[in-house]
């Protein structure tokens, strides 16, 4: 894996302090949100915990600057507002974060199913997320928990049905 290219802001010490000036703060949160998505995509990581103190995304060691949990929460809430994150527990400590919104993932997967003529057949979640035939797809490597959420959304639209088999899921597309 290639090294992640941090933006210049990551080396700018005040970037880690929430800015009091309204416009500056909005700008700051925008850059952070983008950085969160890019970095997590780079690691192919779909869950974060607010209290993971030494996670490089929150903590620039060479600069000795870190994001406070409350600031991380603000960034995640911003991501939630655009459909790129959602909390996993009531205390909002554990979060699911995704590069594409669930809706976007849903469309991609459904398009792929139609392209490959798999409507009407059953496939496993593993096939979708890690199968050889999806290697060049954006949703390849998707977290299974996120994938279940995506499929639930498709299910609501009547495009598939989730089937539970021996504790794992299968899915049938229409």
């Amino acid at each position: 894996m290639t090294d992640f290219q941090w933006p210049w802001e990551y080396t700018f010490p005040p970037f880690f302090t929430l800015q009091p000036h309204e416009e500056t703060r909005q700008q700051q949160l925008n850059v952070w949100s983008e950085l969160f998505l890019k970095y997590l995509k780079h690691l192919n990581k779909f869950t974060v915990n607010i209290n993971e103190g030494s996670f490089p995304l929150y903590y620039n060691e060479s600069l000795n600057r870190r994001l406070s949990p409350s600031m991380i929460l603000q960034i995640l809430q911003k991501l939630q507002s655009t459909g790129h994150a959602q909390p996993l527990d009531k205390k909002r400590q554990e979060w699911q974060v995704y590069w594409h919104t669930l809706e976007e993932y849903g469309n991609m997967i459904y398009d792929w199913i139609q392209e490959t003529g798999q409507t009407g057949s059953v496939c496993t979640l593993y096939e979708i997320a890690n199968g050889e035939s999806t290697e060049d797809k954006e949703f390849h490597g998707i977290d299974e928990n996120v994938l279940v959420n995506v499929l639930r959304l498709l299910e609501d639209k009547g495009r598939c049905e989730l089937i539970e088999m021996d504790g794992s899921y299968g899915v049938k597309f229409f």
Binding site: W8, F12, P13, P14, T17, P20, H21, Q27, Q28, R65
Partner: protein, 251 residues
């Protein structure tokens, strides 16, 4: 025999003075005539020159610089009017065009720089914006300064601030920078990272506590700088002066 003072001598003196005066007027007239002729020749030569060197004006930064110095020495502003004597050179057009580009570049990055841009960065961005043929369009900091100064006629939306030691910063948001703010900027531009602290203002500028606090609150309030609260004392950072920002730009 002693000559006596007589009326004849006085008359003679008067005649001599008049003759001298006439001669003087003659000389003045012929000088004026000559000057006018010289000016005409100069103008003709200048026109000839501009026709054969028009491309140089656009392309050669050294040439423009020397031309500007010459104009400054004789007290002429070649950009004062598009129709005047100097317009034959096309000097104005070059700077008007550059001025428009300066506005474009500054406005495009206002949201990132807070409306302040260091002159060198402005130059890099301008060169990038002017496209691939940049080799032919070498522009110097002097050119940009010249063009930017002309923008001040649009009010206080565009102002160039001198920060000492040949450093300039171009402000592209409306509003005056107060003396305090300019001083803080100057101090910040002398630091490696482009930041100041409350103590620095007190120690290096001899400002009393409340004055330092008030001016820092003001630069924060106007969105010109960012605050870092994770050091021994809060520090105030100007993104426009932060070196890390531009090293990545050029990379």
């Amino acid at each position: 025999m002693r000559r006596r003072v007589g009326i004849g001598a006085i008359q003679q003196q008067q005649i001599a003075a008049e003759k001298l005066k006439d001669k003087g007027t003659d000389l003045q007239e012929s000088q004026l005539e000559q000057m006018t002729k010289q000016m005409e020749v100069f103008r003709e030569k200048l026109e000839e020159f501009s026709i054969s060197h028009k491309q140089d004006i656009k392309k050669n930064a050294q040439f423009r610089k020397q031309f500007q110095e010459m104009c400054a020495a004789i007290g002429v502003d070649p950009l004062a009017s598009g129709k005047g004597f100097w317009s034959v050179l096309g000097m104005g057009d070059f700077y008007y065009e550059l001025g428009v580009q300066v506005v474009e570049v500054c406005l495009a990055s206002n949201h990132k720089t807070g409306g302040l841009m260091e002159l060198n960065e402005l130059r890099r961005r301008l060169i990038a914006a002017r496209g691939q043929s940049a080799v032919h369009q070498e522009i110097t900091n002097e050119d940009i300064l010249m063009a930017t100064k002309k923008l001040s006629i649009f009010g206080n939306g565009f102002v160039v601030h001198k920060l000492g030691k040949g450093k300039y910063i171009v402000q592209s948001i409306p509003g005056e920078l107060s003396m305090e703010e300019t001083t803080i900027l100057t101090l910040a531009s002398d630091t490696e990272q482009g930041c100041v602290t409350h103590n620095m203002l007190m120690e290096q500028l001899g400002w009393p506590d409340y004055r330092a606090r008030q001016s820092l609150d003001k630069v924060i309030g106007e969105g010109l700088c960012w605050i870092d609260e994770q050091d021994t004392e809060p520090s105030y950072w100007f993104p426009s002066l932060f070196p890390g920002r531009t090293t990545q730009l050029s990379a």
